[in-house]
Symmetry: C2
Subunit: 373 residues, 2 copies
């Protein structure tokens, strides 16, 4: 079998995972505690509290689900929707599309508001649809990882609240890189992943549910279709004085998240956001002379994930082969386009610990070398 | 926040997690690769092949799900059952009961065959019920973690096949400790966890589906209710030449499992089983003079998890407080009883790397000291 110590070092500048911070890697090598050990429960309580900070919420139900980010999407939708409920989904990329698929498997009627990939959702179109449809749930993406678009949240969330709809928000790529303010924005359920701006390996999905969302779960007429993701059952283990076994929490992944969140707290979100913005600006400045252009206009561009339209001299070659050379000759991973953008864009992630100008410079130097060849 | 380096060292002799092997802990501290990196895909392919060995199967669809063991149960049941299907579940402990709950949330009609906790399922009763009910799926537990009972599989599986039923088997606690032979037994879908006899942290659920099981999935009239656990979608990432993004695989957890499985291969299953049996025998011999008696008769006793009926001098005290003293004064975790066995038994796990006579001796010495006090 492969010797793990011979694996190559990679600079992960794709859409995630990003590189884990050395303190995170070290955390995962700590010996295990039991999942009901009081010392582990204390650690988990600190993780929950730190997650409240980065999510900008007082929500008691804020915890890391024991599966990757997409499980958080499923958890939010299957807990809040019952068969026959209507959900309004904003779709301007892969992850809005995935929300429709997940909600439909929960038996919901799915109404879509589409926007062009690379553009944000039209706020007026969302507000109009909310008023017309009056859905049980309004669901959309804060930071679309497939396109690099940032979505403004408060206006849509306010309209949803006025219509009595719950608001679900995908924060997979934004959390820990730019401010997320669930309470100020009026978001009822949100989810993220650990492998983007939190600089941890993929494995957990931080989620947060408001009391309004939990009330909806309590008022359900039938059980949540997923036993594993049922928030009422999860609360028995993650909350209260006496913790009840539900599933075995992933101890080492929680250590990793604890370390990742402590790095966020030490740096402070303002400095962290500034660092992400500085790295993204350096990227765009550095690649424009090489002919790459950002897909997304400046006002709606994510700092941690930049979609770059490929120049003609890259399109004339094989873009996948060029990505392969960046990986194999330079140890740098960048991401491919998805869907209609496949072959047309690259997605460059500068996430968490990787959001540093020195990493941008390394990428630019490698690109210069390859494009001169 | 808590300094992770100050966490106490524990000898984990409960029902799981067990201690991870140092090589597993080291594996998790290796830098990340991307989830579509060819090097990572090669590693994943080795993990799949090793899992086939420990599962005793040629099943192409054999892989680690990106969530803990209970997600494996959910994956098997929600992929193979459609609303209105009947599932026959053998229930002689917590995990058979959980199967009923999960299947019922998939809209299945659940027929139960019960046996006393601490006893195996009655094979004749299972065969009779299979012939009478002719269920779509027959589901039961190989190694009941709540009681320490080993179930004989082939007779029930043969009857199920004869009736045209698929067989689902819970191998959470058995895999990597005693032989599991899915193909020889005629099991169609099985799941396990990484935190028991594979000596890894909790975080993944190894699963295996036979072609017969996959045919059933392909013939479904409606989509699998869980997008995250849909085996058809998972196959797109885990199988074939071109790997398609589904969710982001948990890189470090796969490293850990790779290391855990390489330890199993190096030792060989025969030696590993013998080590588990030797440790269990030493445990029972060591605790009997202290008044503890095994709950399960010898013929149906698991080697990796022993349920011990508590002696009067422990029952006269507070058994939970005594477990607390073992943990806090001696650094040893043992498990409590669940359900009707709460307060009556302890569950002592000697799993994976922990299945060693020296660990038994450490537990006995601590118990002697506490019971003399």
């Amino acid at each position: 079998m492969i010797d793990l110590k011979t694996l190559p070092e990679r600079l992960l500048l794709g859409p995630g995972p990003s590189n884990a911070h050395p303190r995170v890697l070290e955390a995962m090598s700590q010996p295990l505690l039991g999942h009901l050990d009081p010392q582990f429960i204390s650690l988990l309580d600190e993780v929950k509290e730190s997650l409240r900070h980065v999510f900008g919420t007082q929500n008691a139900f804020t915890l890391p689900l024991s599966a990757t980010g997409s499980s958080g999407m499923e958890a939010c939708l299957v807990n809040l929707l019952e068969p026959g409920d209507t959900v309004l989904v904003g779709v301007n990329g892969v992850f809005g599309g995935r929300m429709c698929e997940v909600a439909s498997r929960a038996g919901a009627n799915v109404e879509r508001v589409e926007a062009e990939w690379g553009r944000p959702l039209d706020i007026d179109a969302m507000i109009e649809a909310i008023g017309r449809v009056r859905p049980a749930v309004v669901s959309f993406v804060h930071a679309e990882t497939s396109t690099g678009v940032l979505q403004s949240v408060p206006e849509i969330a306010a309209a949803a609240r006025e219509a009595g709809s719950l608001v679900v928000l995908d924060c997979v790529t934004s959390l820990g890189g730019i401010p997320v303010e669930l309470d100020a924005w009026g978001v009822d359920a949100a989810y993220s992943g650990t492998q983007k701006c939190l600089s941890c390996p993929p494995s957990l999905s931080p989620v947060s549910f408001s009391e309004r969302a939990l009330d909806r779960v309590r008022a359900r007429t039938r059980p949540v279709q997923s036993w594993y993701l049922d928030v009422s059952l999860l609360a028995g283990y993650y909350e209260g004085e006496k913790r009840v076994y539900h599933h075995t929490a992933p101890i080492s992944s929680v250590y990793a998240l604890h370390a990742g969140l402590s790095l966020v707290e030490e740096e402070g979100m303002a400095a962290r956001e500034a660092r992400h913005r500085e790295a993204a600006a350096a990227l765009i400045e550095g690649v424009e002379p090489l002919g790459f252009k950002p897909l997304v206009d400046e006002a709606h561009r994510l700092p941690m994930l930049t979609s770059l339209l490929l120049p003609d001299n890259v399109l004339a070659r094989d873009e996948a082969a060029l990505r392969g050379r960046l990986l194999n000759e330079h140890g740098i991973e960048v991401g491919a386009g998805l869907g209609a953008l496949a072959g047309k864009i690259w997605r460059v992630g500068l996430m968490g610990e990787n959001a540093r100008v020195e990493n941008v410079e390394r990428l630019i130097a490698a690109l210069r070398e390859e494009l001169a060849a």
